[in-house]
Symmetry: C2
Subunit: 173 residues, 2 copies
Amino acid sequence: MEKFSFVDRPSNQRIQLMNGISKNDSTNVELFLNFQWTYRNMQKVYDSILNENDLSESRFIILMFLKNASNHELLPSVISEKLGATRATVSKLLKAMETKGWIIKSSSTTDKRSIPVQLTTKGSKILEKFLPKNFNTVNQLFSSLTNEEIKQFTYLLSKIQKNTQKFASEMEK
Amino acid sequence: MEKFSFVDRPSNQRIQLMNGISKNDSTNVELFLNFQWTYRNMQKVYDSILNENDLSESRFIILMFLKNASNHELLPSVISEKLGATRATVSKLLKAMETKGWIIKSSSTTDKRSIPVQLTTKGSKILEKFLPKNFNTVNQLFSSLTNEEIKQFTYLLSKIQKNTQKFASEMEK
DNA sequence: TTTTTATGATTAGCCAGCTAACTACTTTTG
DNA sequence: CAAAAGTAGTTAGCTGGCTAATCATAAAAA
């Protein structure tokens, strides 16, 4: 067992998860690992493109939110809702982005607790520069699939997603 | 644009990424988001099962490595290699696991820098308790797919993976 | 009107990932 | 043999995620 050595965690896990599982039972395990591995490698590539542009996924999304918002301005609480992250996380993210000059925080005239966040010209430029690269990267990542295969993949993902949500719902009971 | 509000980040991103992209060009973007969303939701479910057992993915893998190792013992450097993570990360992970009594660290007789790590009975019990749940969870997650669909999905993942690696290789130049 | 409850934003601490730096030890080179 | 280079493990600091707590403010209830 120790004669195997890998540098990619999902592949590492393959050996582990299959341990003690008979050959007949390993189909789903293998699929799980393949899914995980393929996704993570793809995400790694995407993240490195983000990183080249001084962005992370959350930063990118927040910039987009602000770009599309009225007056390029949103409250942190709204951002946290839309992002699906906690206010604590958003607070830290915004702090760093403010330091970089991508956003400015101001005072609300209607609510003293609120601190509206506005996109700066600098922040806008970072975003504009990244968008075509984003588009190109995503297209490149799926460039090997035919239209028919894309349709199939979409269908299968949808099926897995529905089942996952069902499973998650049952787990909450 | 602001009339949409989501609690799941990949879905959030959908709106953003599609902004400025014509309808004809959004297929790959949609696919990217679907892939991401489906995978992340599945991973979230899996992680919650790990969490119920006081485990994280890395902890689980490390326990498996040790379980399968000669004398249930490995060096941190070996673990970091097999896990595909840095020694710094492994050092912190092992520290916490030692605190929980899952592993013990000893002194190497052959190299004073080395600190062999051994699985304890407690650690072994944690693992044994989790393994059937691991198996059941993975099976449940793909229970909606037919054998034919599993084959299709595997093929498509493989295709994406190969292309991703090609893309990653080109990026390194 | 006053008190209680809810809300906005921030911070501390935890986790797991990383990089960089460090100390102690081992191996290689000159 | 001594010096240089390499290696094992750890720590500090950063990031982005979380929970819990906190303070100030606003809204609801009494």
